[in-house]
Symmetry: C2
Subunit: 156 residues, 2 copies
């Protein structure tokens, strides 16, 4: 099974700093759009959210900046499911572009399924659990994420 590409974009002028480099927060915005796109694949698209009142909130994220990304670059996000339980989804996004072999950036994230009316945590629906299980199974032959499980330390 090839890597799952969840999002493609060009790097926009409003995302870069005075040097023409993608600013740190906007890497995370690109990954955030990739999470939105993943939600559509697991039965949590905008229509379903409106009907059910449920959505995914980011609990925690780790991000590594591995290479500079410039204005107008065409980039894409690959997404790997690390795991999930009744109401949490653990995933890994990586950023890529043509002509660069490897990850430009990577973000490991923990997301929580939430009843927005609370807001309070809520179990995934059966449909979503089936789709997540299928996706995880499809990705079983992929190498483990390179930059997952990290702690930030000055002295290792």
């Amino acid at each position: 099974m090839p890597a799952l590409i969840t999002y493609r974009t060009r790097v926009l002028p409003e995302w870069v700093d005075y040097n023409g480099h993608l600013r740190d927060a906007y890497y995370l915005l690109i990954f955030s759009h990739a999470t939105d796109a993943l939600m559509e694949r697991i039965g949590l698209d905008a229509d379903a959210r409106d009907q059910s009142g449920h959505s995914l909130f980011t609990l925690e994220a780790h991000i590594n900046y591995l290479h500079e990304v410039k204005l107008d670059a065409d980039v894409w996000v690959q997404t790997q499911i690390i795991g999930f339980d009744k109401k949490r989804l653990h995933l890994y996004h990586s950023l890529h572009s043509d002509g660069f072999d490897g990850e430009l950036s990577a973000s490991e994230q923990m997301l929580l399924h939430v009843d927005v009316s609370g807001p309070r945590s809520a179990p995934f629906g059966e449909h979503t659990l089936v789709l997540l299980g299928a996706l995880e199974k499809q990705q079983r032959d992929q190498p483990p994420p390179e930059m997952a499980g990290r702690t930030i330390r000055l002295h290792s």
Copy 2:
């Protein structure tokens, strides 16, 4: 010594999602502005950057989303120096607002001092090292950051 407040802002309309909540990437944008403000305190303001050709790049960040933040909220960032070496700065930003006791969000970050013309890593100047040392000393009596040193895990 009271906590160092590096940045204040109102939550802008372009930063919130369809629910009127601050979107995950824009927490990091607020912390990114706080880093810019910190740079001005350690001799790395825009004028100095232009003259020296040096700047700070984010290498790695960890972010915890602890509480929702709504459109128009007045928020501020407190910044604590965790440590530094010849060319890296390890810091901790936390997000706060009136009427909420505690951290709305927290971000631990590792930043690298860079010669932008490479780009390649470069040692901090003496002036910056002195200012960082003074800041670290002033903050010695502060409690250790609550959400630092974390790893993302589904099963702990």
